[in-house]
């Protein structure tokens, strides 16, 4: 497995007593990219694509294998408080906050807490709100290889899929085991949503883009509609030929959409 060819550094940055692993590169406005339930899959083609216009900060969430989890973090809103703490401690301002899947939920929860340090918010196939008609696909009772395959529109056509999942993933152990455990810890019940989040979205006052793969078979697009309707002024865009993990399946298209939105 080769890493996309773009130089980046790996740093440990303090957040209170914790040491957050952050991969960073690029120049431009800061973009904090929060991974989702796929876990910490390392440096991605998406990060490289975004680095053309942004200084990309791609952390590995507490509990997902590379950042030790502080005892107090067991919920998504705790992760959100942790990352607000991170922004505050490192005095990051004008941040474009980008969250994918479960990371989109963390990002939305962060924005509800405070948008003071944010320039833009981008939610990609975000969990966190309960769909009224459909259901969020249950990734916790499904063999992980099937979850991966279902998260792509066309796995065979995706270089990132081939790079990361081209050989069958190990069933047990490693960073993926840690990540899945942390996701279960935070999102087992209610499954993948916070019932009070929609009621608080009106507080979010930052330009917001909601992006959805047009073939997201994990999180129904009506969740994207709920975010769009809830956050004042938010826009919703879909990406063609794209599943739930848009940052893996359409990294260049997603980066272009974000670049376009954040340049305004």
């Amino acid at each position: 497995m080769t890493t996309p060819a773009h130089p980046f550094t790996e740093q440990r940055l303090s957040v209170g007593p914790a040491q957050l692993l952050v991969r960073r590169t690029g120049s431009g406005g800061p973009a904090l990219v929060l991974h989702g339930e796929e876990g910490d899959e390392g440096w991605l083609a998406f990060h490289s694509a975004l680095a053309a216009s942004h200084e990309v900060l791609a952390p590995s969430h507490p509990g997902y294998g590379s950042t030790e989890c502080p005892e107090w973090i067991s919920e998504v809103r705790h992760q959100a408080a942790f990352y607000q703490w991170f922004l505050q401690q490192h005095d990051l301002r004008g941040v474009d906050l980008i969250g994918v899947g479960l990371g989109g939920w963390i990002a939305a929860a962060m924005a509800v807490m405070s948008t003071e340090r944010l320039a833009h918010l981008v939610l990609v196939g975000a969990m966190g709100v309960k769909p009224e008609r459909g259901e969020i696909f249950d990734i916790f009772i499904t063999p992980w290889q099937q979850v991966i395959d279902r998260s792509f529109h066309d796995p065979k056509a995706s270089p990132e899929y081939q790079r990361l999942y081209g050989t069958p993933v190990p069933e047990f152990g490693g960073a993926r085991e840690a990540g899945k455990t942390m996701s279960i810890r935070m999102a087992f019940r209610p499954y993948m949503y916070d019932p009070v989040l929609p009621g608080m979205l009106g507080k979010v006052q930052v330009p917001t883009l909601v992006v959805w793969g047009d073939d997201d078979r994990i999180t129904p697009i009506e969740c994207g509609e709920i975010y769009r309707q809830g956050i004042p002024g938010a826009q919703l865009r879909t990406l063609p030929r794209c599943g739930h993990w848009a940052h893996m399946e359409q990294p260049d298209a997603l980066a272009a959409v974000i670049r376009d939105f954040t340049a305004r």
């Binding site: 916790f140 063999p143 047990f172 152990g173 085991e177 279960i184 810890r185 087992f188 019940r189």
Partner: protein
């Protein structure tokens, strides 16, 4: 010769579904549609299984072992306490070995402590209160976060023991359970509290935990060699704790069927394969959801190794390695004596009914145990 208690066990299988559904639902758990459940058939089966418990009680078993599972046709007992309460009233002598209450999925352990107190009082002090972690599916079916399985097990246990032994009222402010008043007017008859047992199949963590608490550990039908390894862990832990492990600390569950003739026993014994190894066909995510066990590859692999399909063993091989014991009273007595003495177990749980065995054959099996096998085992 050490003393051994003998317990009758059946899972109370729900056998009335069409076996053809296994083609679509190989593991027969969690997502197998319950439209295949016929309550009329279940009602008759419950009645029959309760009758068989009475026969076991009257035939001289020292105890009756019961259990609980969810979304599982192999076991109709969705609440072990309900079966325990039935036994408390319909049996007279036998201990009621509950193996056991699945503590991690219990939402209100105080109520569980109260119910167990009632069962002990109603049965006039015959309760043996087992506590289990439960397999992954029990967490999924009850929708209790598997990542907290061990924490919830330990805290629920501590709360129940406190409820039984510490005069109320007192407060409980734990991580998973909080009570402003713990003060139940339902406490066990046995003092300081009923004997507690803990079953397991493979997890060394559980053996160590049981040994530290000096609770008997019951190995649920694992291979003999692995069982010996688990017992060795118990022995070592006991030594570290400053006591010597004895037969009273170890139990073993074994599949066994007795009939008047070898042919009949061989034929009926095949019922132990009735679900065609369905348990081992569960996805890893059901058997051991991430977080259910410590993130420990070896541990999870071990768990699966003992959960492998029972029917992958040839029937003869299963008998050769004592996974199944069938035969006439004489041959069964000899084999059970070998297993008992090899393992040095003070508790032998005899899984003597499964699958499509008829009531008549089951009743005869229990009678033969009472008249011939158990007396012979007790003699030497």
């Amino acid at each position: 010769m050490f003393k051994t208690d003998y317990y009758y066990f059946s899972e109370q299988p729900y056998t009335a579904y069409d076996p053809a559904i296994q083609a679509e639902h190989p593991s027969l758990r969690l997502l197998t549609p319950n439209s295949n459940f016929d309550p009329q058939a279940a009602s008759e089966l419950f009645s029959r299984y309760h009758d068989e418990y009475q026969i076991a009680d009257e035939s001289g078993f020292d105890g009756i072992m019961i259990n609980e599972h969810h979304t599982a046709p192999f076991c109709m007992q969705a609440s072990i306490n309900i079966t325990g309460a039935v036994l408390a009233k319909i049996t007279k002598r036998a201990k009621i070995l509950m193996l056991g209450a699945p503590l991690p999925v219990v939402e209100n352990p105080l109520r569980l402590a109260e119910e167990l107190g009632m069962i002990d009082c109603i049965s006039k002090g015959r309760l043996i209160s087992g506590f289990v972690r439960g397999g992954g599916v029990e967490s999924l079916a009850n929708n209790v976060n598997p990542a907290y399985n061990r924490e919830r097990f330990e805290e629920a246990h501590d709360l129940i023991i406190a409820t039984w032994t510490k005069p109320g009222p007192f407060r409980w402010e734990g991580k998973h359970f909080q009570y402003r008043v713990v003060n139940p007017w339902s406490l066990p008859l046995q003092k300081p509290h009923p004997l507690i047992m803990v079953p397991g199949t493979a997890s060394p963590e559980t053996v160590v935990w049981a040994a530290r608490h000096r609770y008997p550990y019951v190995v649920l039908g694992s291979f003999l060699e692995q069982t010996q390894e688990l017992i060795e862990i118990y022995r070592e832990t006991a030594a570290e704790e400053g006591y010597e492990m004895g037969p009273q600390h170890i139990g073993y569950l074994i599949r066994v069927f007795v009939a008047d003739t070898e042919e009949k026993a061989q034929q009926e014994g095949m019922n132990f394969f009735w679900q065609k190894g369905s348990l081992g066909k569960q996805p890893r995510e059901w058997m051991a959801p991430p977080g259910y066990a410590t993130v420990d590859v070896a541990g999870i692999r071990r768990l699966r190794a003992v959960s492998k399909p029972f029917d992958t063993l040839a029937y003869q091989e299963a008998q050769d390695n004592y996974q199944v014991v069938v035969g006439t009273p004489d041959t069964v007595t000899e084999k059970l004596r070998y297993v008992r003495d090899l393992l040095g177990v003070g508790h032998m749980c005899l899984w003597a009914m499964d699958g499509y065995m008829s009531h008549k054959d089951t009743a005869r099996c229990i009678e033969l145990f009472g008249k011939e096998v158990l007396p012979a085992l007790r003699a030497r």
